[in-house]
Subunit: 355 residues, 3 copies
């Protein structure tokens, strides 16, 4: 398991790109110290950087690693402008981490797409393929599907009958799209996500849970990203809808008929029960659960593991179980832990009152 | 991304079916108003219905949409029997939503199955295929597997050695079945579910977590439905068993040696630790967690996000963490929030008592 | 759906192995009673054992099943050394369950691996295959990947560009490995796990959530086991790292830049947010959530469903939401439920104090 530095320089890239320290300083609006001609081709944290790496130092607790880093160049905040280190160049900026985010797209150019349809893929009748689509090995595209221009379908995906996938969207490996799903443009769907599966709806009749047919669709807006192994059910009669620009993390569950607005952030392992409405700009932290048929108002936030059983007003931050305004929840938890230390005295008081 | 109405009329169907308003009225026992010859071929909510759609109005908050719907026909409750609208026919019934569920199976006929074994599938030695099985593209069926009659295995599934799948069962795309699993009749397993994976069992010995062999099986009863990306481990020595008629939602985890009875409803993201016994007719709401080696009695219900660390008596409804009878849990939460507003006065009382 | 006993004797094995009761007694250091020549070829619980099975009895509540078991032989604790039963041989040991774990590997020999590369697999340019690798049907191995000796890749897996997989590792069916992941030796990755997917990182700019490039890697140590449908994101700049000997259950989420130490146990549906550090030997019970950028100290334990929003000290056991030392959490919950029964009296006291 050798781990050559060069293997880190091209994350799916088209070959190493090089930037000089001078170019980086210009790019991030920083002040150059040292050899402006120093070249880097990749980035790495202080302790693992090597001779072709750019690194960064933003927090005091990592300062000890700076003295010994073997990086070629470093983005540092002003307090470390002159700290002793072996780096051949440093670029002094107010926010090294943000500066790094600006450097990344210059250094790491996405893989050149390889348009074409792999010989092992299986394409059904009446499938429409846009220009420059890339369909990987062992992909299955059922009949009636339409793929837009420059769509990328990685190996092992299955796209069900009559589904639509918009321009520039990318399905990573082993994704399943059920029949008739509508996926917008520039959507990224990570490995193992399931789009448009049957909703969980039954009516108890004649001694059994009778399945409710799901004839609605699953409609994913433009610029949505969907995490690995996330599941989004289609609607029963209405559609399940994810609004444009919304980002969904891994292992999230979205039930049938749910509507999620634009530009939401839904973190890992969130569960949203059927027919709930999440308005624009909502943030749901990890493992949040929303009961069915409720509304989370525009711009509201729910803290990690919160469980909401009623509407959450627009703009508010709620947390806890059952979810309450965050300050109330904090106060209640604080009260609980204080009280638990006072129980003896309290019970004495109460006993006396009862006598 | 055009979205022709016709694409909604045949969700995996065998082509559009048509029903007249008169036929619908007869089917649901409703009163026909307007043109009984009006034909519909699909259903849609009020705001998205078109000229070939049946829609429904059941709740006052959707009434404004009724006036402007472009649906051909509508199921409405008595209070909207005469409300102004453009629909050519309305069918008046007490419960329009339930009536709609009765119409759906008439309008949406499941796809005609296409029996046959796709040329790209890989079938191992000694595999037994029932009559009219349908095996999709890139499916892998390992040696010794037996599929019953009319079994459907969608694209990308992998069925491990010596597994059994009963008549009329359906595995959606990209499902994995581990070796020796037993799957009953009329079972539906959604995309990405993993059936019979190794249980999480280790013994710490010689400085490492030594794996306990899992030689039990995973046994799925008749008429079970299993959601997308759900995982059900096989047993260590005993079996993991899912009883007949039980329905399991997406992203659920069922640990090794768990026994789930008949006709349970297990909602999304529930986790059931090893060797726990869930009796018949239990309902576990979303994100519930059950610790290992406990029993949830017949017909019990656990509220969303409940965490049970001990047995739950038959027929009771419990909630919260740690789970308690639902009324107690509600009372405790109410008390907590009231108390947190009274802390100043309470602490004054306690201080005085202590002096 | 016949279920012949022989189908249970060879769970992926190389054919039935037989052990005599005498050999079993010797193996587990137990005392033989009855016919030492009795042969068994498989194990089963008391109520389902047949004429070729070894069973065991360790707990009084299963004793009634012992009298009627049809097993050939049984491991029993001393109190049942002479209990009436039909078994032809019994082996008396202090801990029958542990003894059983010692018997299993003798009886159930893992399948003989079948080295070779299946004709339907797709192997990219520049792929390095170690000795005796086994690559299953419909596997896709992208360019630049290196597989060590005796690596097993089951059907339907996709291994991304330049990934490395160490000697003797095993990917079960339908696993996805993203580009550049580093997987150690003797690693087992169960069906549907996603290794090295993009982390959930965005910066809000120009009215949209702009994606942060993820150029770090996902590095899995030796002897790690990863459960079905678990997702482990790669790092943004730094790496995501899972330490050697750590075992991860099903449906777990590990965020970007997380570092998990050696020999941890991470149970089902745990979620770990970005940049959190889980030190060696930590145990996280089911559905635990860890917020980002915190440290769980060496050997700490978190109870099921705990939600940690700050560091957890080494060696301690914490539980609840927000997580607290377990004893404090228990005391607080007990206080809460006692208080809720005393609210009337308490409010009377408080009212009087306020007057």
């Amino acid at each position: 398991m050798t781990d050559s530095p060069s293997s880190r320089t091209t994350p799916g890239g088209e070959g190493p790109r090089l930037l000089t320290a001078e170019a980086i300083a210009r790019l991030v609006g920083g002040e150059l110290r040292g050899d402006g001609g120093t070249r880097v081709s990749s980035v790495a944290p202080l302790d693992r950087a090597g001779a072709s790496d750019l690194t960064f130092l933003a927090a005091a607790r990592y300062a000890p690693l700076f003295a010994t880093t073997r990086a070629a160049a470093a983005l540092v905040s002003p307090e470390w402008a002159d700290a002793p280190a072996e780096v051949r160049a440093r670029i002094v900026v107010a926010r090294p981490h943000e500066a790094m985010l600006r450097v990344l797209p210059e250094l790491y150019v996405p893989s050149a797409r390889r348009p074409g349809v792999h010989a092992t893929s299986v394409i059904g009748r009446g499938v429409t393929l846009g220009r420059d689509v890339s369909v990987g090995a062992h992909v299955v595209i059922e009949s009636g599907v339409a793929l837009g221009d420059r769509v990328t379908i990685d190996a092992g995906c299955v796209v069900g009958e009559d589904a639509r996938i918009g321009d520039d969207s990318h399905l990573y490996s082993n994704v399943s799209v059920y029949a008739r799903a509508r996926i917008g443009r520039r959507v990224r769907i990570h490995s193992g996500a399931r789009i448009g599966s049957d909703g969980f709806g039954y009516v108890f009749q004649d001694g059994a849970h009778q399945k409710i047919p799901h004839v609605g669709r699953c409609v994913i807006g433009d610029d949505v990203e969907i995490g690995a192994n996330t599941t989004i059910d289609r609607g029963s009669i209405d559609d399940t809808v994810i609004g444009p620009g919304t980002k969904i993390d891994n292992l999230v569950h979205v039930g049938h008929n749910v509507r999620i607005g634009a530009l939401c952030l839904i973190m890992a392992q969130v569960g949203i029960a059927g027919s709930t409405y999440v308005e624009d700009g909502v943030i749901l932290a990890g493992q949040v659960g929303l009961a069915g048929h409720l509304t989370v108002g525009k711009g509201a936030r729910l803290g990690a593991q919160a469980g909401a059983f009623g509407d959450v007003p627009a703009g508010e931050t709620w947390s806890g179980y059952p979810a309450r305004p965050h300050k109330e929840a904090l106060r209640a938890h604080a009260a609980l832990f204080r009280l638990s230390g006072l129980m003896k005295t309290l019970e004495r008081l109460i006993d006396r009152e009862r006598q």
